[in-house]
Symmetry: D2
Subunit: 108 residues, 4 copies
């Protein structure tokens, strides 16, 4: 992976972690939280894996390909769930997730 692609991927992962945690936090404050259960769950999964993979890449993990592959799958699942909800935090999160999934697939 070239240095520029790597730097860009780390920032994309960080942005996705931020979007997912914002969405998680906002979903926990929604009135109809039950509708949001899957969103909360997937936001956490996606935030955690993005944070994990970002750190792994920066420390020179030999497993970039394996980790970005699983990260892409989780980002897509989270994006697909968030896309269903009209809330701005969900739509923003979906967009961040799909961008991140794309970047991960290129690295995998």
């Amino acid at each position: 992976m070239a240095y520029e692609q790597y730097q860009s991927l780390v920032e994309t992962l960080h942005d996705c972690m931020v979007a997912c945690n914002h969405c998680y936090d906002a979903c926990l404050k929604e009135e109809n939280e039950n509708m949001m259960a899957d969103c909360i769950r997937l936001d956490r999964e996606c935030a955690d894996i993005c944070a994990y993979v970002a750190q792994s890449i920066v420390r020179g993990t030999p497993f970039v390909s394996e980790l970005t592959q699983v990260c892409a799958a989780i980002c897509e699942a989270c994006g697909n769930e968030c896309k269903k909800h009209d809330k701005e935090h969900c739509q923003d999160c979906a967009e961040a997730c799909f961008s991140c999934a794309e970047a991960c697939k290129q690295a995998a």
Copy 2:
């Protein structure tokens, strides 16, 4: 910290992480999830810090005292929230949190 106390603390932290994540998972499946929003939030906080501190201790972190102090505070907050709810997973979680808070305080 003596080796036996340390081993025991790591297991207590692990047990608390397990109880908090069970409670988090169960709360996300509850019908009246809105009542559970604070529980879900604190379960994640507590599970994450317990997992973090357990790993830190095993790798010989020089910051056992600082980390167990913040962990004790988070365990107590989570235990106090879970204690309010009748569900078995909440009561079990509260118990695990208070045990873990106590163990952390002794190490801090």
Copy 3:
């Protein structure tokens, strides 16, 4: 995944995290640390992914199969490196890694 297999897998991941962090800590205290650079690096990769996957499983992640697959690959790589070194902490770590890789493959 049946409940018993799941509980057993979480404990196996926890044991592997402990063994890898012990080995990491001990390698950082070795006189000839340069020989240990790959061991230190892989111990961290393996400890971190095992802790990550253990927590994911307990919180009901929908991605058990994907996560245990990447975990198995990292456990095997760490076990193969540790196996090369005579130190007891390396041999213990190799054993824990291979057990964990096996358990992960069965879950994947």
Copy 4:
């Protein structure tokens, strides 16, 4: 904590995590790694706590003050160690650590 301070803190924590992991990776490739053992150890402590605290803040943790306090202590310890070494990655890391310690103290 005002939104701008919060956003700025999250980016500072992310930058410090990146600098610490770069330094960790570079130290593991140094010829005289024994000199670097404390640096490697503290880089990991610091990278991990910065990543942890960044994520906690974004998800709306109620424990910003407690977490940034322990993070400041770890950043300072890592900065003080890295400052001793002439390597560019160590000097860069020290600078990132001291900036992050300062930002954490203001939030604590």
